[in-house]
Every structure is written in C-alpha cells, then in structure tokens.
Amino acid sequence: MNVELSRRAFLLTAGAGVAGTTLGAFGFADIEAAHAAAIRPFKLVNTAETRNTCPYCSVACGVIMYSKGNLKKGEQAEITHIEGDTDHPTNRGTLCPKGSALLGFVKSPTRLQRPMVRRPGSDKFESIGWQDALDRIARLMKDDRDKNFVAKNNDGVTVNRWISTGFLAASASTNETAFATYKVVRSTGMLVFDNQARV
C-alpha cells in the first residue's frame, strides 16, 4: 500500500468542510526560504521514520519514531524523537502526556541492559550470561514439573496438569509474543496462567 497516497486520502477526509491547514495557511504563501539565526535547525532532518503504536493504553495511538540510523537498512538505530502520527484515524497525530514522553521510556535510565540473578539470601543482583540464565531456568522448570506434575486425579481421570509453577503474562506485549507464550506455557500443562486483563 502506498502510504503517501493513503495519507492524501486521509487529509482530504479530515479536512472536509474546513480549509486545509497547509504551509500556506501558516502564513508562508509565496515566501522565499531563508533562515533566521535565532531559530533552531529542524531536528528531524535526515532521520529515519518508523510507524508504531503507543504501548501504553488501548486507544493504541499511531506514533512515528524518528531515528538516527535506519534499522530497515540493517543499521544501528537510535531513536531520537517520537510524535503522534497524523495519518492515524484514532489519534490524528495527537498524544497524551504519556505518549508525548514515549522517548523517555525507550531511553529510561532504568531500562534493563543485561540478565541478572539474585542468589538465595543475597542482597544484590549479579550479572549472568543469557545462556547460563536460560539453562538454569529450564532446569528449575523441569525439576519442578517432573516432581509435581499430576497425570491423573484421585478419580483416575487423566488431567495432565502442573500447578506448582505459574506464569503471569503481560498485557502490553504483541499478539505474536502472546501466542508463542501460550504455546510454550500450555504445552507444559501449566494452569496457573493469567494476564493483566483481570487486574
């Protein structure tokens, strides 16, 4: 789908009955380009744009992320600005105080950088490699499952359930993450399984 084309269609719709806001409407009709020293250079020039949706509430506003470097071209990309996507039918470019500050979530000082482990009785986290962490977690899962799996209930009915380990899923992860999670969790027979929907 040609995004630009659809965008024009959108602006036509949005502007129905009202004069369109354009560069001209901002007082620049036929004005020659030049730059006042006092005015900041436009900071989005030559950034890469990526369409996304706000991860907070379920209005799911469209956002545009601007980055130095383009992930689609296989480059390292650092997001430098996020603002609302005017093409989006719901939010029309607007964002709430959380959405307007999304960049601060992406770059939060408390974003996690590497896997950590806290040993029993310890008062601190220690760094651990991914492989070691995942190996250990899989081992803990299997040991608990093998020990506590209920194949048949007291009436001899096959029940194949595991209730001594639980999983609390997110409510801001994607459907695709959710489905992968569902498959893995359910295949173990886990029943203590919930998400934030009922909280």
Binding site: T13, P55, S164, G166, T177, K183
Partner: protein, 812 residues
C-alpha cells in the same frame, strides 16, 4: 468495545461511569469532544470524584463507589416507569418475552438456590421454560407474570430515586436529571454510548456492574447502532489481545474454554459446548465450536493431533477449580504450594492487592523469573527499601532471574486496541545492551525444555516434545510467522461446504477467514476470531488506507478488526424487523430484500431474513439477555451488594455482606473491616492519574516531573475534621496495612450522605513505588482487600475502608 473509538463521534449522549476517559484515554476522549462540538452531544459523568472527565461534562453526578448497580437499576426502573423503552427493539431483540421456570425467586438479596456454606448457588431454577418442541416458551404479549420483562420490572422496582439516593448518595435531583437525559435516547433516532473501564470491573460484583448498563442499553435500543454500544475502554495496549488469545487460566484462544476434569474426553467436552438454538431458525454460532477447537489443537500439536487421539485432547491440562487466577495464585503461593513463578511484563508486587500478603508469598518461592524492559519492584521484592519495602534479604531464599526484554520501539507485531482493531507496528530502534525480544526468550526456554525432555524423559513429555514449532529459525520465531499461525492454514484442500467445486484454500495456504475452518483436522488456526488477519491477501493488520465513506467512522480498510473485520458488533440490531435502519442517518447495514450490506461487515449471515434470524447470533436464543440463565455465578439479574468493606449496611439486603457468591479465601475475611466500621470510617478508592501509566511511566523522567510524588485526595470537610493541611503529610491505614502520603485537599471530592450517614471519600492514586525516576512512595495496594469479582476475580481495588490522620513524613 462493541463499537470503536472513532464511532463515538456519532453519539448524542456519552455516559462516563466506571471510568475516566479524559484522564485514562485522552486521545480516545477526543471523539467525545468531537461529538459535543459537531453534533451538540451531551456528556454525563457519574463518579465519586469530580474528575478531569467531569471538568468538561454537561452534567456531573456524584456517587459512592461500589453502588453503581443501584444507580443503573434505578435508571432502568425510571425508564420502565416513564415508558421510555424502545419497545420494538426490546420485544424483538431481547429475551423480554421469554418465560422463566417456576421456582426462580429473588428475596432479601438472594436468588433461589443459595448455599451459604459454599457461598454459591444451585442455578437449576435460573432458566427458561422449555416447551414440548424443545424451544424456549415465549409470551409475545408480555402478559405472563413469569416472562423476563415482568420479572425485571419487579426486580428493579425497589431502586426508586429515593432508594438510589440512600444507597449511592446521589442527590435525587441530580439522579433525575441524569435519568431524563438517558431516557431520551430510547428514541430510535437517539444514541447513547457507555464508556467504562476499571471503575466497574474492580469490584466484587464487577461483571454485574457492566451487565446492568448493558441491560439499560438494551431497554433503550442502543446496542448495535452507530454512536451506541457498551464500550469497555480497557487498560493496557494489548489487554484485549492477551484475553482474545486466551492467556488466562481457564481459556483457549478465541474464548474457547479449557476442559475441566469432569470432561475426560472430547465427546464429553463438546456435549456442553456448541449450543443448540433455543428458538427456531437461530444461528447459534457456537455450533461451530468444534471447528475452532480442532483447528486450535492442530495449530498446537500438528500431526500429533489426530482423530484417533481426540486431536490430542489429553495434551491439554484439565481444571479442578474454576480457574487459577491471580488471587488464587498468590493464595497458593502464600500456602507454600507454588515453587516457581514467571512475570512477563507484569509488576504484581505493585499491582496485586494486599501487598503484605504478596511479599510473603514471593518470599516462599524457590524461583522467580522476570522478563521486562524495566527494573520493576517485583524483580526486587527481596531488596530492603526502608518503609517502602521493609524486608530482610537474608531471610528470603528465592532465586530471582531478571531478563531484559525489548520494548515496543524495538519489536514488530500487532496489538489489539479496545475497539478490536489489530494494528501492526514495526521496530525502529536497536535494543539496549543485551535486551532480547520476548519471542526469543520464550523460544530459547522452550528449546531447552524440549531438549531436556528428549534427553532425560520425565513427566508426560509428549505435549512438550511434540509441540508444533514450525519456524525458520526455531530459536527466534519471526512475528510474521506467528501471525500467520494465528490466522491459520489449510492442511488439506478446503472446499465450500455448499459447493464442493469451490476451493477455499489449497494445502499449505493461509486461510481466508474463519468460515473456512473445519473440524476434521484439515485446518489449523491459532485463534479463530483473528482468522483473516494475515491471509493470502497479505498482512491485513498492516493496512493503512484511511478512507471512510461518508465520514461514518468505520475506517474499514485501516488495520483489521476481529471478528471478520467487523467494526460494530451486533450491527444487525441497527436495523428494524424489516431490515431498515432504525435511524437512516445512522445506517450501519440494511436489508435489500436479498441480502445485508452497508458500511460494515454484517453481523449476521448475509442472506438471513430480517424477520426470522435474531441479531445476537452467538446466543442460542438469537436475542440478547436481560435474564442470563445460569451463566453468571451471582445471579441472572444484577442486584445491589455493598463492597466487602462498606461504610453502611446494605439497605436493600441488610443480612448480606458483600457479594454473596464471591470467593473469599480463609483468613482474608478476617482481614476485612466490618460494615459501618468505627475504626475504619472512610470509604477509599484507588485510581490512575492522567500523567502516568500504572507503575510504568515513573521510569520516565518527564512523567515523573508531571506527577513526582505519592499523594491522597480528600475533601475540604474531611481535612478540617481531621486537621489535615494541603500538601501536608498524612497516614492512611486499613485493616491490612498503612501508608504515608501527602494530602491533596480538594473541592473535587465532597462528602456524600448515604443511609443517613456522612460518608467521606479518600482517593488514592496508584503510580509510585521504589524503582524509577519519581520519588519513592507507597501505592494503594498496601491497603486493598484480597477479594475479587464473583465471576472473573478482578480484585476489589475500588472500594474499601480506611482511616486517616495527619502524620510526620516517612522515616527513610
């Protein structure tokens, strides 16, 4: 949402009750301001607090938290008494005419069949009279005293305006103003929309709060139409998706349910699902249940799911209790019965009620695994943070893993908004440090587990080792691969049932829609209601065509809406019995003598005749229900019950405490303050503020600037009574815990008079904790009670009792 955010522009009246859209969903609220500005729509806000939504309302009415049912049944009573009923709609599209069995009663707050010891009902009398033809008996004249309409009329008669004022504290004149405005929308050419959220769900009778408004909307004929509907605003960005995909204890994707241990085989399982129509000609769409179920099993276990093994029915765990919800999980953990726990993007230490119990529960775990982009309190439950997390790490033996995951900006995939739109998004940034996508983390865990079972054997390895895992890189499934799996594929050639020469899908191809699903194992589909989201036309969730014919608000080519790209649910009900729109200016679909068509995908078979097939096709009745038979645990009609902690005794049922059918664990009842407690005299409620998103944005410096510090809100009257000053420190305590906060003294909260008593309200916002950029603070969950809704166990965060006094600041 039955409708969508952009449809709200079509309304005449917005009722915000049980939510605070302006604060919690500001950009969705835009469509309220548009309806007001463009078509003169009115906004009513009913809330214990004068919220930001109330600040732009035409009418604000105060209400005591936890009394919404009395208010809503009061509105239904008003409409019936004043003949403000859309009669044609009610008679044709609801079960008003259905006759209920002898034996069904309601008396002193209890329905027939109550067992006090079990806190549960024998629901056998909560049903229709079934005639000799096997169909429900109906009385089109509404004369039968046992028809649903007459039972309803009688049931709501107690909620007269004076009783509403006595229970809710809403002054009668305010209530009558609301009632008059609401009642006007019984006209077929007027629409009212209900916008609600956790202000209704977070009660021990949350499900019935919502039912009460849904019933009112049916009385008014406002379901299925543009500008109408029941619009659950929902919380997180994909709470809808996670629920649709069945990530709950008792669900399979697409609102199929997990088997219980009373259903040892597929035949038994199917015997209580796939309902037969209760009236002639009705679609009763769940008759297709087996197609959805078998396709799901094929998606999970592929070739290992065969007709011979009941499509791997034994691979599914069988429930012994209604569900292992969050509250039951912490109860079991507290009893030492749970050893391991995973938190994927969820911070229950802050989010779950009765924090003291939650900390004790976590401390009993052998291992805890956190997957999150942020440093949550849950990951550090074992760490001492003075009064904010007063624990001794040396006494906590839990092994904790904190795994860094990517955030939205670094991840591809789809989220489902509250209007059921599946919208695709694209990664634009490089993840920080060693952060990984959740799909990678889950795949890596799975492959390790599978390898261990393949090597060592162990307890029933089959469902693990035979799990269908068809990804190009098994260690790193791509979002597109998973999305296609959710949409579903043909495993053999699928042809049209009516015309076998017509091929719907060749083997290996993506299925066009759920109509192509089969129950013989020839199709696989992860979640039937999403089928069509990613088919041979491409990724429909990524569609970005913004065209909207006649500015009707549907945007049918933008993204994909489940089910079947339908934007308004029950849209058949937007037209009358001849198939003409009730309001021509609000057309959704219409019948042209041959078929249904219009702006939206019809929510009915395209050729189903309007005078024969009812619009509520998922119900075996074909109509909607005022009376829900045995489907709700706490009654076929809503009834007013006080919160478990209540400042007054229930005026309509003095002997009943809380919701009589709500589950309460041993030990928790003793932790509830008694009704009208002198020790805890104030009615507290918890909520979000517009500046923050749950416990998440306190990690964002800018949002921390906007609301830096924990506070509670009280009225000027309560401040004067307790000697509390604006901005001063207070201590707030309940029977379960204590917090220290600063005080916001405001005119926006006013004392209410309920049952002759002055009730003061204490408002407690929830955003602070001990990690992140904002100041450290307590949340309300040090105080909240450990009890949930009778039907789905959402905790009662919205109504509990506290005391408050001036205090010195926290001792760090």
């Amino acid at each position: 949402m039955t409708n969508s955010w952009t449809d709200i522009r079509n309304t005449d009246l917005v009722v915000i009750m049980g939510g605070n859209a302006a604060e919690a969903h500001p950009c969705g609220f835009k469509w309220v301001t548009e309806a007001k500005a463009n078509r003169g729509a009115k906004l009513i806000v009913i809330d214990p607090r004068f919220t930001r939504s109330a600040s732009v309302a035409d009418l604000y009415a105060p209400i005591r938290q936890g009394t919404d049912i009395a208010f809503l049944l009061g509105l239904i009573n008003y409409c019936i008494q004043h003949d403000k009923v859309q009669w044609d709609y009610v008679k044709a599209f609801t079960n008003a005419t259905y006759v209920v069995k002898e034996g069904f009663t309601y008396k002193d707050g209890l329905f027939s069949g109550y067992d006090e010891a079990k806190r549960d009902y024998d629901k056998s009398t909560w049903d229709y009279d079934i005639g000799p033809d096997g169909f429900a008996v109906v009385d089109e004249t509404l004369q039968n005293p046992r028809c649903v309409w007459n039972l309803l009329k009688n049931h709501v008669s107690v909620y007269a305006p004076e009783m509403v004022e006595r229970i809710c504290g809403t002054p009668t004149d305010k209530f009558l103003k609301v009632a008059a405005m609401v009642a006007e929308t019984s006209s077929p050419t007027k629409a009212m929309t209900s916008m609600y959220a956790l202000g209704w769900t977070q009660h021990s009778k949350g499900s019935q709060n919502i039912r009460a408004m849904a019933m009112l909307q049916l009385v008014l004929g406002n379901i299925g139409i543009r500008g109408g509907g029941m619009n659950a605003l929902r919380g997180h960005s994909n709470i809808q998706g996670l629920t649709d995909l069945g990530l709950m204890s008792n669900l399979l994707p697409g609102y199929l349910t997990l088997p219980t241990q009373k259903e040892p085989d597929l035949a038994k399982y199917m015997s209580t699902r796939g309902f037969k129509p209760l009236r002639p000609n009705q679609m009763s769409y769940w008759q297709n249940y087996k197609k959805f179920f078998v396709s799901f099993q094929k998606s999970m276990w592929g070739d290992a799911a065969t007709p011979q093994n009941d499509f791997a029915y034994d691979y599914l765990p069988k429930l012994d209790v209604p569900g292992y919800d969050l509250l039951r999980a912490f109860e079991l953990m507290h009893q030492g019965k749970i050893n391991g726990y995973f938190c994927q993007g969820f911070n229950p230490l802050q989010a779950a009620p009765n924090k003291k119990k939650v900390i004790e529960s976590f401390s009993k775990l052998k291992f805890l695994v956190i997957m999150d982009p942020l440093d949550t309190e849950t990951a550090r439950f074992w760490e001492n943070h003075g009064p904010y997390n007063d624990v001794d790490p040396t006494k906590i033996q839990t092994e904790v893993y904190q795994l860094p995951s990517t955030c939205f900006a670094e991840d591809d995939g789809s989220l489902v908004n509250s209007g059921r739109w599946l919208q695709w998004h694209w990664a634009g940034g490089t993840p920080p440090g060693e952060a990984k996508r959740d799909t990678w983390i889950m795949a890596q865990l799975y492959l390790r587990l599978k390898a261990l079972y393949a090597k060592e054997g162990g307890a029933f390895p089959d469902p693990i080792v035979k799990l269908n895992w068809p990804y190009a890189d098994p260690g790193n499934p791509k979002a597109e691969e998973l999305a296609q799996e959710i949409n579903g594929r043909a495993l053999a050639r699928v042809t049209d049932t009516a015309d076998p020469t017509k091929v719907l899908a060749e083997p290996g191809k993506l299925l066009p829609a759920f109509a192509a699903l089969r129950d013989d194992g020839s199709t696989a589909c992860g979640c039937w209601i999403y089928s069509g989201c990613f088919n041979e036309n491409g990724n429909n969730m990524a569609r970005r065509d913004t065209s909207d014919p006649d500015d009707a608000g549907f945007y049918s080519k933008w993204a994909f809406s489940w089910p079947a790209n339908r934007r308004i649910l029950y849209n058949r009900a937007s037209a009358d019995l001849t198939g003409k729109p009730w309001d021509p200016s609000r057309k959704v679909i219409a019948w042209d003598g041959q078929k249904w068509s219009g702006y939206d995908v019809p929510d009915i078979a395209p050729t189903a005749k309007p005078d024969q097939v009812g619009p509520f096709i998922m119900n075996p009745e074909g109509v909607s229900r005022f009376f829900t038979r045995g489907m709700m645990r706490d009654g076929p009609f809503p009834a007013h019950y006080e919160p478990f902690e209540s400042p007054i005794v229930n005026p309509v049922a003095p002997k009943v405490r809380g919701n009589p059918a709500a589950r309460v664990f041993e030990g928790d009842m003793a932790q509830f303050a008694e009704a009208a407690s002198k020790e805890f005299p104030y009615a507290a409620t918890s909520y979000r503020l517009t500046e923050h998103f749950h416990f998440w944005t306190k990690h964002v410096i800018v949002n921390a600037v906007m609301q830096p510090e924990f506070f509670v809100e009280i009225s000027e009257q309560l401040a004067a009574e307790r000697g509390i000053t604006k901005g001063g420190w207070v201590r707030v305590w309940s029977k379960r815990g204590s917090v220290v906060a600063k005080a916001m003294v405001t005119k926006r909260i006013k004392p209410l008079i309920c049952d002759g008593r002055t009730i003061h309200i204490v408002g407690i916002p929830l955003h602070w904790g001990f990690t992140g950029a904002a100041k450290k603070g307590f949340g309300p969950n040090m105080l909240t009670p450990f009890v949930g809704d009778a039907n789905i166990e959402t905790p009662e965060y919205k109504a509990f009792l506290v005391n408050i006094e001036p205090a010195p600041g926290p001792v760090a």
